[in-house]
Symmetry: D2
Subunit: 131 residues, 4 copies
Amino acid sequence: MDAIEEFFEKDLFARENGIELLHVGKGVAGVRMAIREKHLNSHGTVHGGAIFSLADCAFALASNSHGVPAAAINAHISYMKAAKSGSLRAEAREFALNPRLATYTVEVTDDAGEKIAIFQGMAYRKTPPRG
Amino acid sequence: MDAIEEFFEKDLFARENGIELLHVGKGVAGVRMAIREKHLNSHGTVHGGAIFSLADCAFALASNSHGVPAAAINAHISYMKAAKSGSLRAEAREFALNPRLATYTVEVTDDAGEKIAIFQGMAYRKTPPRG
Amino acid sequence: MDAIEEFFEKDLFARENGIELLHVGKGVAGVRMAIREKHLNSHGTVHGGAIFSLADCAFALASNSHGVPAAAINAHISYMKAAKSGSLRAEAREFALNPRLATYTVEVTDDAGEKIAIFQGMAYRKTPPRG
Amino acid sequence: MDAIEEFFEKDLFARENGIELLHVGKGVAGVRMAIREKHLNSHGTVHGGAIFSLADCAFALASNSHGVPAAAINAHISYMKAAKSGSLRAEAREFALNPRLATYTVEVTDDAGEKIAIFQGMAYRKTPPRG
């Protein structure tokens, strides 16, 4: 899994947001983000964009874990609870993997295990044609 | 429109990401983000989370423009083209407004007017009960 | 669970499409649809609308299983594989339940257990105010 | 536009649901459905699956209007108002068209022009490789 960890190291937006890798395997990944003041929105809770970004990193790791470059083509997020302090964790798992397309579900929870958001993403895989 | 501009001033995540207000009116809003190195992903293009965050700010402004607090409950984004440099612009417009729920479509384009992403968001409005 | 079964009996669109209840419990539900010629699209595979409708019925059952009327406010579906014959099954489970909002994930599979589609839905609950 | 009209003629699920073609052009399409008892859900309003199916037909027509076969890979719908009688109309328009992927927005309205739902769909295009 060295290649995928190196892949994540190069993600500058993840660095900027303090997103850390917890674990990554074939089709799965977990990441964590300690909530900072810079992540907050006008209501003083974690910005929807920050929650989405955390989930998106777990999705990118899981979808790129097979050694085939995969680019997000769309994503959907439902927010269930505002988050204010502590840290957030996102866990991605693969629903289905085709040669070209793959889908992932990501659950975002807080330190108390409360459900913050659920995310569904689809990736387009740059699978090389068989020779 | 002073209240809504003040609302946006308090958005620390928007500040952190260099997101600027272009215009805001009843049910519409436009924002802009100059692409910086910190917005990039492992592929060297703008992170899906950064594009989403830009669209989300336009959505938050448009949905809070009526003077009733509105919280995002879900959002969907489709990415059409990678963005690398220059700036991105997001324009939100209202599809429908109910007492409790409202929906918005946000289009994200680059400096050349190329379509980068389309976003659809739903907000829950904290409309006070009639007295 | 008599009330929820009766609720489903009144769903005329489910009847029209031959959608049958397999099981329903608090926050979960399973339904089945035998593929008929009338479910096919121009490509001769099951219409996206028919697959969505099957998933939507599982979502409606699961979200109405708590005895509080719940109306779908949005849904997202990703299609992974075309379906042609035999039957399709949709299994819904609750991700999170709030007083007003609840979210469900529905997986659609065919007779061979192949993953056909994944669906995510949000419902608005008409919870009576506390007296 | 004869080929696309013929394409729609072969859509058996559209026939079953009484969905009629209003117009179709490059990247746009309009369809209509007269509400029948068979379209209703347990609440006596038009089933979410029937509204989705109507929007999906407009999306299929618009995405297949360029002469390149296009298959839906995902879709998102937000419901704004229940519909009970009369007819529903869905109008699709293209947001962006790439060699492989294309995105569409579909608006669903009732006879009074009230906004019933908004739909966003992505299609995968089977563009032949350049020879």
